[in-house]
Symmetry: C2
Subunit: 217 residues, 2 copies
Amino acid sequence: MPTQDNSRFRCAFVLFEGFDAQDVVGPYEILHRLPGAEIALVAGSPGPIRNEHGSLTLAAEHSFASMPTPDLVLVPGGSGELRARDDQALLTWLRAAQSRDAWVVSVCTGALVLGAAGLLRGRSAATHWLALGELAQFGATPSHERYHFDGKLVTCAGVSAGIDMALALAARIASPAVAQAIQLGIEYDPQPPFQTGSPARSPEALVRSVRAHSRFA
Amino acid sequence: MPTQDNSRFRCAFVLFEGFDAQDVVGPYEILHRLPGAEIALVAGSPGPIRNEHGSLTLAAEHSFASMPTPDLVLVPGGSGELRARDDQALLTWLRAAQSRDAWVVSVCTGALVLGAAGLLRGRSAATHWLALGELAQFGATPSHERYHFDGKLVTCAGVSAGIDMALALAARIASPAVAQAIQLGIEYDPQPPFQTGSPARSPEALVRSVRAHSRFA
C-alpha cells in the first residue's frame, strides 16, 4: 500500500467543457501558494478543455480516476455546468470527496453541480446572484454571503468571489498570516472603477438588463 | 488586400513560459465580454505554455506572425517575464503595436517587458509594488496607482489589479454602461477577508517578509 505524504495538501480543480476561466484561476492563484500545496487540473479524461467563451483552453493533466483522494476539490461554474450536472463519473467522485471529509469547494454556479451530486441537501450555499433561485431544487438554503463555510463545504458568489473565498480558505487551512502574505503577494487591494458588483448596489435597470441577457432569465 | 471588419475588437494576449495565470485570465474574463471582442492567446509559436508555478497550461492558438495587427495587446507578468525581455520577436511585435497606435496593456511585471521593448521611455507606468524600482532602467516614471492610463499605454499594479484595469479599459473602449454590466455579470463586489493588499496598508514585518521571499529581494 503506497504511503501518503501528509506534508502535502493535494487540490484537484475540476474542468469541464464550458467552464468559467476566472472561477478556476482566481482560487488557483491563491491556493497554489499555500505551503505544501499541489494543484492538479482534472477532468473525465486528460486533455485540452475549452472554456465557456471558447477562446481559452486549459489542459487537464489528470482524470478523476487518477486523482482519487485529494484533500480539496473545487468545482467552477460557467454555462457548461448544466451538462456537468449529468456527468455521473464527476458526481460520484464529488460524493466520495465529501464522504472522506475532504474540502468540497465551488465557485459561482459550480454550486449547482454540487447540488446535482446531492451534496447540498439540508445545507446552505452561495452561488452567482442570478442562480440563487436554483438552489431550492437541491434541498439547499441560499446564502447571500460573498462566501459561505458550512463545515468543509465551501461555496461562494459569482466568478470574482472565488478570490475572496480562497483567501478565507487559505487562512483556515494554513493560517491568517499565510493568507495575508498571499494577499500582499498578489497585491489584492481591489479598487473597482464602479460600484455595480452586486444587484443590491446596482440600478434596477442594470440588474434587469443583465438578467435578461443571462441563461437564468 | 483583405478588408478588415471594423465591428470587431481584436485582442491578443501574450503567453510565455512562466507567465502568471491570473494576469491573463482576469482581463480575459472582462474584455471577452466587450461587444465585438475577440481574444486570441498568442506566443512565439502556437502550443501549450506553462505558467510560473508549472501546474497550469494554457494553449496559445496563434503566433505573433499570425496576429500582426490586433487592436489591443496585453502582456502578463510572472517570473518568465525576465526571459521574455530578451525575446526579440515579441519585442518587435510590441513595438509595432505601439507604432500602429493599438492599445498596449500590461499587468503586473508585464510592464518590464514593455520597458525592454523601449515602450516606456519618457512615460509613466505602474507595475507590481515589488518591481516599481525596476522601471527607472527603462526610462519610465513609476506610478503608484492601481492602474495608469498614459494615452493608449495602460499598465497596472500586481496580479489582481488586472481586473480593475480591465473594467476601466472596458469603460473607455465601449462605455461605462457596458463596463458596469460586465462588473455585475462577474459579481465583482470585492470583500477581501484581510486588509493586506498593498504595502502601504500592511504591517512592516509582513512587507519585509514578502519582499525577502521574492525575486526582487
